[in-house]
Amino acid sequence: MSLRLRWRKFVSGFMLTMTGVCALVAVSVLFLILGYLAIHGGASVNWNFFTKLPVPVGETGGGMANAILGSAKMLLLATLFGVPIGFFGAIYLAEFSGSTTAFFVRYAADLLNGVPSIVIGIFAYSLVVHPFRQYSTLAGGFALGLMMIPITLRSTEEFLRGVPNPLREAAMALGASKWKTIATVIVPAAYRGILTAILLAFARVAGETAPLLFTALGNQFWSPGWTHPTASLPVMIYTYALAPYDDWHRQAWAAGLVLLVLILVINIVARAILSRGIAVPRS
């Protein structure tokens, strides 16, 4: 073996090993994150965390029950607002529209998907908060829902298009009208994918903080109602992490752990549904 060849083989082996190291480093970040959160936050995740209100500075203990409820309320609103628009919009794109309309809708959705979340916050502020002069749960839900639209729309459309055409033709040949074909054949055939898309959209907005800063604001107590400011887990993590109190840092770690586990579990379930690892009962 000539020296040159040996050198080339060495370079090849070395560089390929380096790519492996890169991959290892990238993946290990996930476990580092999980590990740090578990070490620093694990001890503080207890019953109080889920059931108690935050306590004033200086007292130890307390929890983030109000933030958990606030996040749940806003995510519910977001799902009610974002998922129907994404879902029915996708049905229009996949089943009814001509190519020009479809182009504009897809373009708008992609544009919306790329908008930085802080800008979504500004938009929700000027549309919902500013006119009513009131930070509110509604505004926060609106901002999050807005972010769910493009993800739901684009993936749902893709899964609907993945349904083979013979299924459509067979239904039509049996005399079903088009909407009946969609409702009874096409959507059921693609439902795993659609469910996955919705879950992933949900998981993505569950951790969003920036759009909530000036829509839902924050609250140290139970939110009085839908039209009032509310606490949320991500914003709580942000304020607690930057505060100068050790007890708050402990709580921030705990909240981070809870939030991350929730998001990762939704992600894993969503992917498992898609790869048919989990049986989903169908009515």
Binding site: I118, L146, A197, G207
Partner: protein, 328 residues
């Protein structure tokens, strides 16, 4: 993420030759109209978003014009707003992030696409996708409690000791600053680079590799001189996508950049970014002009990410098409 990047083309809607009336009677026209309204609302909301940003910053745009972008006085009391320190901070942190994330991300993508057996590759990709789902505020928490102390105690002093003669690494070691923000951003965008690059690398036809190997190229030569150039446009697409993410990233950056509007050549110096100043000042904006200036910053961010995303998508689609076209 993998779900949204590919579009499966199938034939369009089944053409109906029935009359409008019969379609109306069967409910098809109604279903069409209803779904159309939902689809149209997506366009409407997007147009409204652009309109609000434009309209909401009209005063600031008229008052400051282009001075907004190249003056660095940000003074809410005297209503003077120049955004240069924020723009500078945004660009510098994004540049640092890409310098770290691009080699690592592309290296990992090469490993996943070229070297790893399919099962290993899929498993790792699954972890990478989970990593992409970690919310930015969590990266912020880790940044504040883990990375900032590390930087303050070890990395900053070490850099000053070894490379302190460069203007890049001077000044006191606060821990927070451009470099720290850049590193946190790098960790955040690596998953995007890996996922997209892996997909474009996988779309490179097999015969390209085989041809290179049969001519006597080593495995690395076939990868680096044949496969990667073939997928070059798509890889650049993934980098632009990551850049767009890095520019618009708010929470993690706000928590570790130091929030001081300075323009300094030193990466160790604390700084500020566009998204961070919006996050910090929007609720406390004192006057109309202050709010408007912040909205104008939002508009700048929107336009930047819009252009980058559009360009990225173009490149990625072009590469995937080239790959699948050659395979057929």
């Amino acid at each position: 993420m993998a779900i949204t990047t590919t579009i499966v083309p199938t034939a369009g809607p089944v053409a109906g030759s029935r009359s409008f009336l019969s379609r109306l009677r069967e409910g098809d026209e109604i279903a069409r109209m209803i779904t159309f309204l939902f689809a149209a609302s997506v366009v409407l909301v997007t147009v409204l978003l652009v309109f609000e940003l434009w309209q909401g910053s009209v005063l600031a745009r008229h008052k400051f014009g282009f001075n907004f972008f190249h003056t660095s006085v940000w003074d809410p009391i005297f209503e003077q707003f120049g955004a240069l320190p924020f723009i500078y901070g945004t660009l510098v942190t994004a540049a640092v992030a890409l310098l770290i994330a691009v080699p690592l991300g592309i290296g990992a993508a090469i490993f996943l696409a070229e070297l790893a057996p399919a099962r290993v590759s899929d498993t790792l990709e699954f972890f990478i996708d989970l990593l992409a789902a970690v919310p930015s505020v969590i990266y912020g928490v880790l940044g504040v409690f883990i990375i900032v102390p590390l930087m303050r105690q070890y990395v900053h002093p070490a850099l000053k000791h070894s490379l302190g003669f460069l203007p890049l690494f001077q000044g006191p070691a606060y821990g927070v600053g451009f470099l720290t923000a850049g590193i946190v951003l790098a960790i955040m965008v690596i998953p995007y680079i890996i996922s997209v690059s892996r997909e474009v690398l996988l779309s490179v036809p097999r015969d390209q590799r085989e041809a290179a190997l049969s001519l006597g190229a080593t495995r690395w030569e076939s990868t680096w001189k044949v496969v990667v150039p073939f997928a070059r446009a798509g890889i650049f697409g993934s980098i632009f996508l990551a850049l767009a993410r890095a520019l618009g990233e708010t929470m993690a950056v706000t928590m570790v950049i130091g929030n001081t509007p300075t323009i300094s050549a030193s990466l160790l110096s604390p700084g500020y970014s566009i998204a961070a100043v919006i996050a910090n000042e929007f609720t406390e904006a004192t006057g109309e002009l202050h709010t408007q200036s912040l909205i104008e910053l939002g508009l700048v961010l929107f336009i930047l990410t819009f252009l980058l995303n559009g360009f990225a998508r173009l490149l990625i689609v072009a590469t995937s098409k080239r790959g699948s076209g050659a395979r057929a």
